[in-house]
């Protein structure tokens, strides 16, 4: 909302400098985003009067007006078509700063000879003054403009740019802001008096109003003005409208807009002669009813929309937009002027469904007081009589089925201090509230007051609302700063938070960069994860109003976005890349919010070390991915087993499920080459994925300490030859089944060479140790033989010769 300070001064004396005023308003909740000073560079520009106009001796199109400036006169050369003797104009002296009407550049005015005649200044256009872009004519000032006065004093202004919060529809008006200014600077508000002459015939003999839907229209007031002459509105009104960001149209429309800005009450003018049956009916729209609105669009109405109708058809969508049929036109001579109160929710729904934003709708939606209709209506009627030559019918129409009395609110000093943490006296409280127009009556005791909010404050209903008023008028900076005084509440930290933190720190330790990708993704991207296309099962959750096609679905896994991130980085990154994301995925559940498990997904690709003078550029592989997962789980005190699985996005022969205590909670594998192709990634990429919500319960609790044996260990190496199909895990399980074996490490895997086809060699380093005595070589030999026998019997293993 933009407000002219000059206009504001019609209702309140502005006693503060602009910066101070802006600061107080902002602190009190009316945020001043900035302000524009009109006339700040009008030095040397004064109000003048055209005292004489002589022809230019050498040019037909130029004239030589003489401008009276009070104590002196100046003669200039001027080419404007609208020079008129006696008109008041803005005169720029030599040396003044102006905007060049042709180039738009800022220039300093010099005395120049034009076709042989010296011009000692300039009569200015609006463009030259920086008021508008209009440069066809010189600007003519009102007849009462004081000659000789600096223009900045006469028509300079400051335009405040305000941000009004949705709870303060009353402040979407100049008077509303004036009330705030008054309260914040200890001044009084003076409202315009709306006095005008009425014609003899009463309004209700000429038109009547029937509210059929009082639930949606608590009040409908109207006046009738005839004999109007459509013209431009006066310059001062146009200037104020422009300053507030509204385009002047004609005197009738401008007056309705002016009063809306002044009082905050939207008004609507109907062409009286277009109202059929001379009756206004406020009702819900009929099924299938259609209205062509002011903007020329055909609007299909529905039964939950409120319309203003005459006897035959709808003539306006209440509070949202008027109909084209009853619009004020060049031919209009009589108007039926509406000032009504509508249900905010209804206006919101109707406006939203029709996609029609407007200044009126915005005000109605915020809930303006029904009490506002009459003052605004009287003011507008007065202006129509005064400025548009209208005659007002006798009286007003005022249908008010929804009148409600305001309940007083009891407020005590104790309540104020217990909420704010500071003691304000009853006088301070009453003083703040009274300055805002609240009515304060004695309460039940000396520390209480019974407060009734003024009608324009529709946002006030509770004691807390009053306390905010008190606090913001006295000043939030008067509230002290104290630390929470009560003891710290019981803490039950969520275990998932600790797990997430540990996982994040482990992975950064393994050299992974954390990324955060959008939770929303596209079907196209998700489908890239499928080597063979098929519908996703279950279907991911779709947005009803996606912003863009690539953010239409909630991700069912972290993979797609992470692979896209890898692909994007590959365009500028050579060498190894290790990325991880820890975040939620969204799995639909019938008739409920989706499940949102926290997932970990990591990707690794490229060389294990960056290129270095130490050499050794070895590529990361499946076992790096597995080693990282094993390391992570080991840090979390969890031991996993790895099982075969068939994840379609992964290389069929290079993937494993991560299983703990029989529960599968993740996967490790090489990305399927076709998937990598789809994401335009070359080289092998390894992925691991862990469901942290599934992992969480397994990480809780503590494993008991294992005593360290005091007795020496004996280490033996054992190279075995087995069939290629035998898995390391099978061998290891047999070796570790012997109680004296404390550790088994596989240190070599070999095939080919001298080994027969279909065989491989696995070499183990086995540590033997007893917790109770020193082992002898004989003890170990015995066990080693038993191990070999068992391996031979169960897996066909033999010692490598």
């Amino acid at each position: 909302m933009k407000v002219s300070l000059k206009w504001l001064e019609d209702y309140v004396d502005v006693t503060l400098p602009v910066a101070e005023l802006a600061q107080r308003l902002t602190m009190a909740g009316i945020e001043v985003k900035g302000w524009q000073v009109i006339g700040s560079n009008w030095e040397g520009i004064v109000v003048g009067q055209i005292a004489a106009i002589n022809p230019h001796p050498h040019a037909d199109r130029l004239l030589l007006p003489t401008i009276a400036l009070g104590t002196e006169q100046q003669s200039v050369v001027c080419g404007a078509p609208n020079l008129r003797l006696g008109d008041k104009v803005a005169f720029a002296r030599v040396g003044a700063q102006l905007i060049d009407g042709h180039t738009g550049q800022v220039i300093r005015l010099e005395a120049v000879k034009i076709r042989g005649v010296v011009s000692n200044g300039m009569v200015c256009s609006e463009k030259e003054l920086g008021i508008s872009d209009y440069h066809e004519e010189i600007m003519v000032l009102p007849a009462d403009a004081p000659v000789g006065t600096p223009l900045a004093d006469y028509m300079g202004d400051v335009i405040l740019d305000l941000d009004i919060t949705p709870n303060r529809p009353d402040c979407l008006s100049v008077i509303g802001i004036a009330r705030e200014v008054a309260a914040l600077s200890g001044q009084e508000v003076h409202l315009p008096e709306a006095i005008y002459e009425e014609a003899a015939v009463p309004i209700d003999r000429q038109i009547s109003v029937d509210i059929i839907a009082p639930d949606l229209c608590p009040r409908y007031s109207a006046s009738l003005i005839t004999g109007l002459k459509m013209a431009s509105s006066p310059r001062w009104m146009q200037q104020r409208l422009l300053a507030c960001g509204m385009r002047p149209i004609n005197n009738i429309v401008d007056i309705t807009n002016y009063v809306m800005l002044e009082y905050g009450e939207p008004l609507h003018a109907f062409d009286y002669h277009q109202i059929r049956g001379k009756k206004i009916i406020v009702r819900r729209a009929k099924e299938g009813e259609v209205l062509v609105t002011l903007d020329g669009a055909r609007r299909a109405l529905s039964r939950d929309m409120l319309v203003i109708a005459d006897r035959e058809r709808a003539v306006a969508i209440a509070g949202v937009m008027g109909g084209a049929d009853s619009e004020v036109t060049e031919q209009t001579t009589a108007i039926f002027l509406e000032a009504a109160s509508f249900d905010p929710a209804s206006i919101y729904h109707t406006g939203n469904n029709l996609g029609l934003p407007s200044e009126a709708r915005m005000r109605f939606e915020r809930g303006i007081s029904p009490e506002l209709t009459i003052p605004a209506l009287e003011r507008a009627t007065q202006l129509l009589v005064q400025l548009a030559g209208g005659k007002a019918a006798k009286g007003l129409i005022d249908a008010y089925p929804g009148k409600q009395e305001r309940e007083p609110i009891l407020l005590s000093t104790g309540r104020v201090s217990s909420l704010l943490g500071v003691d304000f006296s009853l006088d301070q409280i009453k003083g703040a509230l009274t300055s805002l127009g609240f009515d304060c009556k004695p309460g039940g005791s000396a520390s209480e007051v019974r407060v009734t909010a003024p009608y324009w404050r529709s946002d006030i209903s509770l004691a807390e609302d009053l306390i905010e008023e008190v606090a913001r008028i006295i000043g939030y900076d008067r509230i002290p700063v104290t630390m929470l005084s009560e003891s710290v509440p019981r803490q039950d930290p969520e275990p998932i938070l600790k797990l997430k933190q540990e996982v994040r720190h482990s992975l950064t330790g393994y050299g992974f960069q954390e990324v955060i990708t959008y939770s929303l993704t596209s079907l196209e991207l998700l489908n890239k994860l499928l080597p063979k296309p098929h519908p996703l099962e279950p279907a991911p959750l779709r947005m009803a109003n996606p912003m863009t096609a690539d953010q239409e679905y909630l991700r069912p896994s972290l993979r797609a976005n992470l692979l896209a991130a890898l692909s994007a980085n590959r365009r500028h990154e050579e060498g190894g890349i290790r990325l991880f994301e820890l975040g939620r995925v969204y799995l639909p559940r019938p008739k409920d919010l989706p499940d949102e498990p926290e997932m970990l997904c990591g990707l690794l690709t490229g060389p294990r070390f960056e290129q270095s003078w130490r050499g050794g550029e070895v590529s990361l592989d499946f076992f790096d991915a597995k080693g990282i997962v094993e390391g992570l789980l080991s840090r979390l005190g969890v031991e996993a087993s790895f099982e075969r699985c068939s994840d379609e996005s992964l290389h069929p022969a290079r993937q494993t499920a991560i299983a703990i205590e029989g529960k599968r909670l993740g996967v490790i594998g090489e990305l399927h080459p076709k998937v990598l192709d789809a994401f335009e990634i070359s080289g092998e990429v390894y992925l691991f994925e862990v469901n942290l919500m599934a992992l969480l319960p397994l990480t809780i609790g503590h494993r008991p300490f294992q005593p360290i044996s005091r007795f020496p260990a004996i280490v033996r190496d054992m190279a075995l030859v087995v069939d290629s199909g035998v898995a390391h895990r099978q061998v290891q399980d047999i070796i570790t089944s012997f109680p004296l074996v404390s550790q088994v490490i596989i240190f070599d895997v070999y095939s080919g060479g001298q080994l027969p086809a279909g065989k491989k060699s696995l070499a183990y380093r086995i540590t033997f140790q007893s917790p109770s005595h020193t082992l002898t070589d004989e003890d170990v030999n015995k066990v080693q033989q038993q191990i070999l026998d068992k391996l031979s019997a169960e897996l066909g293993a033999s010692l490598r010769g």
Binding site: P166, A345, Y348, V481, E486, F512, A568, P594
Partner: protein
Amino acid sequence: MLNQLEEIKQKAAQELEAVTQVRELESWRVRYLGKKSQLNGILRSLAILPLEERKKTGALANQVKASLEDSLKQKRQVLRETQLDTTIEKGHIDITLPGRPFSVGRLHPITQTLHEICDIFVSMGFQVVEGPEVEWDYYNFEALNIPRHHPARDTMATLWVDVESEGGERNMLLRTHNTAGDIRAMETMSPPIRVVIPGKVYRYEASDATHTPMFYQIDGFAVDKGITMAELKGTLYEFARRFFGEDRKVRFRCDYFPFVEPGVEMAIECLVCGGAGCRLCGNTGWIEILGAGMTHPRVLERGGLDPEVYTSFAFGMGIDRLPMLRYGIDDTRLFYSSDLRFLRQF
């Protein structure tokens, strides 16, 4: 024999002097102190000497032996030190060569910021809790005093999930603020409560340098008997002091949020211009950091708490702006670009 001993002593000393390598010491030792050495022969033959001579010779022989052993020990020490000095000298490396490039992982700057903020509030007795990102209209709006037609909904453009309730209305959404978690926390905990709720929020907004459809917020609230606005101020000032530094000025002004009354906006003095006014702060000198206030009585009621007994404050702030301000990042989209050239800087 005594002369012989003197000769041995001299010769041995000369030879030892000439030794330069540790490994040569052993042959010297065998030669002069070994079983077959001349000195040992003399010592063994002592028994056959007459008593007087035996005494004399024995004393000298033992003296020589001790002296040789001592020299050997000293020589060994000297040679060992020389040897180590040489090893050290040979071990020269060019320490200006780069280290082996281990892959370095980093946390996302938003994660780092969230950890820092949570730590500050945890130290003031707040507990971190999380809520669902896909939420019911009820928790995100309705219970927070934002019914369907409320104009405040327009300031939080909503992404709706494409499912409808039995009544045919959309009621599932991506939470637009973490205040959505407040009522849930009130429902499951009992006062006194102090919690902060960090996490992602979503808005139906086109991306540009200052907007992304997903971003991070942290919300917090405290409920107890006698919680005051002065304590809200104390809590938030303490946060600002620790996050932005001791000298950063803080401003508390009236603002409106439907779920608090009175409502507050907290701003800090602009980090770029220090309050003089610049492009970053829109020439106001202040940068808005968070919204807050005393929890609205109707919201407490919705959370199952009696507003006649308990008071509460609440606050909520966007996270993404904080690292932007701290590091001078000019485009918020970078956070979600996954661009390693960006992320590696934090």
